[in-house]
């Protein structure tokens, strides 16, 4: 299981939890697992998120490996100018 930190306003859809656990070995499994376990997160996941894995930020890479002890943080999808 991977522990995922979500941002505050998403906890409305995780029964108030800021840390949730998902069974995932990569980014795709993580996002799928979150959507499955917490359907209320789906609209935000579909609009897009960025994910920090061990301090590096990923936007798209489904097969980026995640270790069970990885630090995983959900972020608003990064924008740039």
């Amino acid at each position: 299981m991977v522990q995922v930190t979500i941002w505050g306003s998403l906890s409305d859809f995780t029964e108030g939890a800021r840390e949730v656990e998902v069974d995932a070995a990569n980014l795709r499994e993580l996002l799928d697992g979150l959507a499955q376990r917490y359907p209320g997160l789906k609209p935000q996941l579909e609009r897009g998120v960025s994910v920090s894995i061990d301090g590096r930020i990923y936007n798209d890479s489904w097969f980026q490996p995640i270790q069970p002890d990885s630090e995983v943080v959900l972020l608003a999808r990064l924008k740039g100018g």
Binding site: T5, W7, G8, S9, L10, D12, F13, R18, G40, P43, Q44, R47, S50, S52, D54, G55, R56, I57, Y58, N59, D60, S61, Q64, E71, V73, L74, L75, A76, R77, L78, K79, G80, G81
Partner: protein, 750 residues
């Protein structure tokens, strides 16, 4: 994708990277030969012009185009009805509605019809002949007024699931970030500062107005030339809006006369394509400056409430900010980025930010250099400065005491890897600027800034010509010298002189998908792809040489621009240079190339500290910038002159935001300063030299350690200037811009 984390652990010895060669497009640009958006023409082309709303908010009851269409020389008129009804995602639907209004016009300048005519004169007359029946509606342009009960509503029921029930219908989204217990943190403070801050909307202010030239055949094949930060984005968006196949629309990026985020979306392009489709003639469209200001990309205006607690030793015990950004008439203000980045430079146990995305009757906000971060940093850095000075503490020292470091949990969640904030602060503290004397009515301000940076889809194709020169094709418009940087990285990797490499920006038919030139990504991501493409070409050349020498591939190594025998079984062979290998390519398997298609992630965050001296005229409130120094981490500066240029340019845009620039709306909801005379950006006589100090803390995510540098430099200056002016004026300035009347009033009221 796997990144070359290891290479940066060793200190690399560079031959080309880090030098300052002449840029390849330099001669074209100093002789007037470079072709920008409006410089391109086609035989038989028509002129396209846009009809724009004179109202801040109105329902369109009807549009009668018959008189315009009947005019001699008018070839087509388009309105929203001409665009196919398609199932677009929300974001693209908003882009279309912004390019061509549907049922309502939502701001002064909103496009609602366009004509194509044989001359500009006729096109102008045709616009006047279009009869629009408007039902004017109440409007709101201020971010705080927009969420008052009873405020005019732009879109009913568009709030997303994050917005609590009963909130203003002009609130589109809510974000909350942070950790710890904010009240417990504030309770430990010796002083809690509560203050509100406001910034006005500013425009990216690129000197080149939007321009494009479109043509389309009856078979649906279309070509578009335009000035944009991302022609692949233009292709994809236009194809979606018009129902074209992406592969049938070829977009070529012209030289681009500045963008700063404002050219990361489309305004004219789908309209020009529709006019071209209707007329079967090439159609050229160029915006006027007033159109640029009324209807393209300003950034959000902001209103921020801050509560921040500090001990008398300067330790921040808790920090809270509530940010309200209006992003114009559609959802998507960068308040999420503001809320994530606000406290990013600091190591805080108790921190919380709340962001509200609010719509108003203003043009749809576009990205502007580190979108959302400068306004948040203005509030945070002003508050820290006020607290530090209130305790009689050195504001740089206070920042050092609270600075985020490797291992700090960022206010937006993750734990930082090695970061450069502390290095910029220490360098600032040791710099002679910090200890230079100040005169009467003068003040010094410092502020820190943070930005994320990202990578994104990238393609590079590197080809070796028969005579041993190298061409690099990339898919990102060169907005400030990136072709030079790509040539440098290719030359470095191949071990050949910079002059032997020429980099071009290829059209959308020549490479795969490329993310827009944004997110400070190009030197990082396109550079990484260029290095990988060069490595692929080197591997191929070693393979060819192994064949020639009759030895194993792994017994050939590449160094100093040539293949050398390596290892015990390689035998003795004179090295073969790149040119020698290129000359026999046909005999050894055909042309030699390397390419890389990737989505490099892990761009690496970036920090800066800015220091500025100002003088305030107590009689007029006018502010003069006396001295300015930027300290920023570049990871590795590929072409230091263009890195300095990014630092200096970002600082100057921030100075404009701090002192002069603002969208000014009248009671009627109309923009009052849609021109460069009244929307005044900094001019040469406003400024001193901007000293740029480059720090190099390598990014482990890039083979040469490169970090994006383009955006971070606009984050600190709003606060740095405000802190300096507040010190010089003897009164805290919490509202931008600090124009002379505002400063004078603040001095007199204090």
């Amino acid at each position: 994708m796997a990144l070359d984390s290891k290479t940066t652990q060793d200190v690399m010895q560079f031959k080309v990277v880090g030098t300052r060669p002449l840029r390849p497009d330099g001669i074209d640009k100093v002789t007037g030969r470079a072709r920008f958006g409006a410089d391109i023409s086609a035989p038989g082309m028509l002129t396209g012009l846009v009809l724009r709303s004179p109202h801040a908010h109105a329902r369109i009851k009807s549009i009668d185009t018959s008189a315009a269409e009947a005019m001699e020389g008018v070839h087509a008129v388009v309105t929203r009805r001409d665009f196919p009804e398609r199932d677009l995602d929300e974001g693209t639907a908003d882009v279309l509605d912004n390019c061509m209004a549907g049922d309502k016009v939502l701001y002064d300048g909103h496009a609602l019809a366009a004509v194509a005519a044989s001359s500009t004169h006729i096109a102008r007359k045709a616009l006047k002949a279009i009869k629009v029946d408007y039902e004017p509606l109440d409007h709101v342009t201020d971010v705080d007024a927009a969420i008052q009960p009873g405020a005019p509503v732009l879109h009913q029921g568009r709030a997303n699931e994050s917005v609590p029930e009963g909130a203003s219908p002009n609130i589109m989204a809510r974000y909350e970030f942070g950790h710890g217990d904010i009240e417990a943190g504030l309770a430990q403070a010796d002083r809690v500062l509560e203050r509100s801050y406001k910034t006005e909307a500013t425009h990216q202010g690129y000197i080149e107005p939007h321009a494009c030239l479109a043509q389309m055949g009856p078979d649906g094949q279309a070509d578009l030339w335009c000035c944009t930060q991302g022609h692949y984005m233009v292709r994809n968006t236009c194809a979606e809006i018009l129902g074209l196949a992406q592969g049938q629309l070829r977009v070529t990026a012209s030289e681009i006369g500045g963008g700063f985020g404002g050219k990361t979306t489309v305004f004219l392009e789908p309209v020009a394509l529709m006019l071209a489709k209707k007329t079967q003639r090439p159609v050229k469209m160029v915006m006027s400056r007033s159109e640029v200001l009324r209807a393209t990309g300003p950034t959000a205006s902001s209103s921020v409430d801050m509560r921040i607690g500090m001990t008398k030793e300067g330790i921040i015990t808790g920090a809270f900010a509530e940010l309200r950004y209006q992003g114009g008439a559609y959802p998507g203000s960068p308040v999420d980025m503001g809320a994530m980045s606000a406290f990013a430079p600091y190591d805080l146990e108790h921190v919380k930010t709340i962001g509200w995305d609010i719509v108003t009757n203003r043009p749809k906000a576009a990205a502007y250099r580190a979108p959302g971060a400068p306004m948040a940093a203005f509030a945070v850095e002003s508050a820290i400065d006020e607290l530090a000075k209130g305790f009689g503490l050195d504001p740089l020292e206070v920042r050092l005491r609270n600075a985020a470091r490797e291992g700090t949990r960022a206010s937006y969640g993750p734990t930082y890897p090695a970061i450069g904030l502390e290095a910029t602060l220490r360098r600032a503290k040791d710099h002679p600027h910090w200890s230079a004397p100040l005169g009467p009515n003068q003040g010094r301000g410092v502020a820190c800034g943070f930005w994320f940076n990202f990578g994104g889809d990238t393609c590079v194709s590197l080809n070796v010509t028969p005579d041993g020169t190298v061409t690099v094709s990339e898919g990102n418009p060169d907005i400030g010298g990136s072709r030079a940087s790509m040539s440098m990285m290719a030359a470095e990797e191949l071990g050949i002189p910079y002059e032997k490499v020429r980099t071009i920006v290829a059209d959308t038919g020549s490479l795969g998908q490329n993310e827009v030139t944004d997110g400070s990504r190009v030197t990082f991501a396109v550079g990484l792809a260029t290095i990988k493409a060069a490595r692929a070409a080197k591997a191929e050349m070693c393979k060819r040489v192994a064949q020639v020498w009759g030895i194993d591939e792994d017994a050939v190594e590449w160094k100093d621009g040539a293949a050398h025998p390596a290892g015990p079984n390689a035998g003795t062979h004179p090295p073969m240079t790149l040119a020698e290998i290129a000359a026999i390519a046909s005999n050894t398997g055909g042309p030699i190339a390397g390419h890389c298609e990737a989505n490099p992630e892990g761009a690496g965050v970036s920090f800066a500290t800015h220091m500025v001296d100002t003088e305030v005229d107590p009689d007029t409130g006018a502010v003069k910038i006396l001295r300015y120094t930027v300290f920023q981490d570049a990871g590795k500066a590929v072409h230091p002159a263009y890195v300095e240029g990014q630092f200096q340019g970002g600082a100057t845009q921030g100075i404009g935001w701090a002192l002069n620039e603002a969208y000014i709306y009248g009671e009627d909801g109309l923009l009052q300063n849609a021109g460069f005379l009244d929307y005044r950006i900094p001019v040469a006589s406003d400024l001193p030299m901007i000293d740029a100090v480059i720090l190099e803390i390598p990014n482990p995510g890039h083979p040469y350690g490169v970090r994006g540098v383009g955006e971070t430099s606009i984050v600190p200056p709003l606060a740095a200037v405000a802190n300096a002016v507040s010190e010089a004026a003897g009164v805290r300035m919490a509202s931008l811009p600090m124009s002379p009347p505002k400063v004078l009033k603040a001095i007199r009221d204090s």
